[in-house]
């Protein structure tokens, strides 16, 4: 995002020292910025020009960012562009009280690999409308980087009896995920999930691996201590494997956590997880932190601690010898 500003306006450092005019924050983007509430870029620019200084201000003045919060990073980008150094990032997502009674949507999250670590691995998402209404069901898919920044939006629908397929291969998404890893956040525009739970594939020249999405909590605003830990189980085997713990924070408070490896009777060790704000993800290479689990010689589990946050979690394994990528939801 900053690169765009630099290219367009030249002296970035100078620009960041003073508030921008409306004309200057008009970076040429048109259409919807908030796809849930159908709020346009121009509406947000106008609100910023009228004095909105925070995402909370924009929520009140435009209704943007009051449902799935998928446009939060984009609103922040626009505010930062306008306010420069005066912009203050708020790590916790909030909702104006007047929206608190509206049941939030429950986004569904899936990891996306598209050339991750140079590997020939791509991703597809499939939505099957077998038991839904006899009319097309709309869904929206936001492609996010690990830092929660939305880089693309698809609006699709799937007809009754049909399957909707979203191609997230390297060929399809180009350079949208420079690190080859991200998240797809899918929002179904229907109250009942029915048969429409999305599954996804990791596709390589030698294998296809599949599992289903993980849904965000019914109330992302309310943090309740979980009754158990998310775990990554480690069985015994004879082949070298890489192992990645992939998770997205689906609650509005930032998540501060660690991963704890505990083997069957042979002690434990821990590794840090980056602090994750809402919609931020981490893909932690467990085999680099806990070499024992890569060999298959020790069984046990890796748990996410403390057991406080609702995450959309996945287990990803990679057998380099055969280019075998395996994925499983937690």
């Amino acid at each position: 995002m900053i690169e765009n500003v630099k290219t367009r306006m030249g002296d970035l450092a100078g620009l960041l020292r003073r508030p921008r005019t409306i004309a200057e924050i008009d970076d040429g983007r048109v259409g919807l910025v908030c796809h849930c509430r159908k709020v346009e870029y121009s509406t947000v620019r106008h609100a910023i020009g009228k004095g909105s200084r925070t995402v909370a201000d924009l929520q009140r003045s435009t209704t943007a960012c009051t449902r799935c919060f998928g446009c939060r990073s984009e609103l922040e980008r626009m505010l930062r562009l306008h306010l420069g150094d005066a912009f203050r990032h708020e790590p916790t997502v909030t909702l104006p009280p007047e929206y608190a009674r509206i049941a939030p949507t429950r986004p569904m999250y899936m990891p996306v690999l598209a050339g991750f670590r140079g590997a020939e691995v791509d991703t597809k998402v499939i939505v099957f409308n077998w038991e839904g209404p006899e009319k097309p069901v709309a869904f929206r898919a936001d492609l996010l980087r690990l830092d929660g920044v939305r880089v693309h939006v698809w609006n699709q629908e799937v007809s009754y009896g049909c399957s909707g397929v979203l191609d997230l291969s390297r060929e399809a998404i180009g350079l949208l995920l420079p690190d080859g890893v991200g998240v797809i956040k899918l929002i179904l525009e229907i109250d009942e999930v029915g048969s429409l739970r999305p599954y996804f594939h990791f596709v390589t020249p030698t294998c296809v691996s599949s599992t289903h999405e993980k849904k965000g909590p019914a109330d992302p605003n309310r943090r309740t201590d979980r009754k158990y830990h998310w775990i990554f189980p480690i069985g015994l085997g004879e082949r070298q494997e890489e192992a990645y713990f992939f998770c997205t924070n689906t609650q509005m408070e930032p998540m501060v956590s660690e991963l704890v490896w505990q083997s069957d009777g042979k002690g434990s060790a821990s590794a840090p997880v980056p602090t994750l704000e809402f919609d931020h993800s981490a893909c932690v290479p467990l085999h680099e932190h806990f070499p024992a689990i890569a060999t298959g010689a020790e069984g046990g589990s890796v748990r996410l601690a403390p057991a406080t946050h609702a995450v959309a979690g996945f287990i990803i394994r990679h057998e380099p010898e055969g280019q075998l990528w395996r994925v499983q939801h937690l």
């Binding site: 499939i126 009942e192 009754k227 069985g235 748990r303």
Partner: protein, 239 residues
Amino acid sequence: MPSFGWWAHPRDYALTVVLSTHHATVDPEAEFHVTLRGYSGGSDPVWQHEVGYLDHGAEKAVLLDELDLPEPPDAGGVLEVHTIRLDSEPRNVIGFVGMWIDARGRDGGGYLIPTIPIRGASKVVKRDDLQVIPGIMSSREIETELVVLNVVENPVEVRLVASSAGGLVAEGDWFTIDPWAAWHGKLSNELPRVRQLLAQDGGIGSLAVYSSHRVLPYFGFRRAGQPLVSMDHSAPIFA
């Protein structure tokens, strides 16, 4: 409530049952007792292994290869992970303590799947006679493998209906799975026209699994003769 998974044939997979007390609770006073059982066509287990008592904090990895077990049928059998919490009474809502199976393929690959109950999950489903598998594939290069577990006393009738991405349908015949047994097959064997059906939409579609009572279906893919790399469960029809 007991939970179940596929007892895959040891010729193909090395199964580790990962028992994690951290996956069950955060209560430091919790105590558990775990028993593993295998079934192959009858309600009496053909083997039973008492793992024993686990205090909170214990993690246990049980490699079935290290137990002296009889072999299941070619299609595999049903693996029961029966975990009982000893320090508290069951709650009003029937609960279960699900654990994990980490199956490593003898030739690489494998699958990792939580054990699940036939009843007791907290999510509300609309019907017991239908589940779906979005994203099946069948072509000369890629094949969908299916496993269906019947974990009740009665035989179950099952029918597979494949749908191309564009909505064309191929229906299979009803077939029977014995009580406490596993069925394991290739999609194209059950639905011989499925490759032609899916070819019209890029070789991809979805599957509906109809059954006379609740079953536990799983699916995975094999590409170009390479090992299978996952075996996830189907999706119920959620309310």
